[in-house]
Symmetry: C3
Subunit: 128 residues, 3 copies
């Protein structure tokens, strides 16, 4: 599948998961965000132009640890519209014949504009 | 995070949850839809121009009660493409150190056009 | 609700589920993809121009069987950015008063460009 698709000046990213799932939720979140940074750069964009993000967490108890890394990553005033959902996401090993469980999902799906930041308006109404 | 991001004449909304979770699923749905109405109005749009919606329900058994309020809210012939999924969504208190469980998720994520309704085509093939 | 909404040269599809849930996951996946083919055709597009897809599986153990049908359906080099999540999705019977459980969700939500394929760029970085 495609990791990134560009259309109408927007980039659609595939769901990203951590490669090294031996790391804790903070480390896995950092891996995912680094993958997103790479994909955005290849598409000629960056995290200052995020439109929307979905985060799937296997366990909502990991929210605070994930969110801490997220907050350090996003650019204040340039944050995407986000939804965080408790659900497992398919990892790179999903579907293999091994008996290992699906990798913990730490990733999200991001759609963002590759246009100029000035072309976007944001409404920051809360911090939740 | 941003509650709404505008790009290419489209508005991307963050996941919305009920503030008062002591209300039943109908009441919580009404709260969420009222929040969406407010965000759309601030972005210069309204519910007659919805493109797509995702609804996350903690328990699919609440579908009928949620859907009744949804159906009363949407404008016939102007309804968005919708997907309803059973999963918990992070609420405003998620990540706090309190031991309370995540709030029941009644909300969705909506992307909609801020363009003129005439610029959209819809195919109504069912009521599900 | 609308099964497809068109805006800005993009088509937003509602979540699709199998009609005949007596079939196995492969058969249900085929039903869903056939429904998507129909909706895309009605909107003047096709699967060669998919932008993004979300797949909700009731059980991630069905990933391989779903993915086999998916891989046979997509056009190499024209695949969408995909995220596969383990969660139940509302079916056509959800909300009815019958005591039957929600249908197994095999469907996804697709957003795709109805523009020319040449207007898209794709980055294929993996096969996961």
């Amino acid at each position: 599948m495609s990791q990134a698709v560009v259309c109408n000046g927007m980039v659609f990213l595939a769901g990203q998961v951590a490669d090294d799932t031996s790391q804790d939720v903070g480390g896995q979140t950092r891996q995912v965000l680094a993958a997103i940074d790479r994909l955005l750069a290849e598409a000629g964009s960056d995290k200052s132009r995020l439109l929307a993000a979905q985060i799937f967490l296997a366990d909502m108890a990991d929210f605070a640890a994930m969110n801490k890394v997220w907050e350090a990553w996003v650019i204040p005033g340039q944050t995407p519209a986000r939804a965080t959902v408790q659900a497992a996401m398919a990892g790179r090993t999903t579907g293999s014949r091994s008996s290992s469980p699906p990798r913990p999902p730490e990733a999200g799906r991001l759609e963002h504009a590759s246009g100029k930041p000035g072309g976007q308006r944001r409404a920051d109404l809360g911090t939740a």
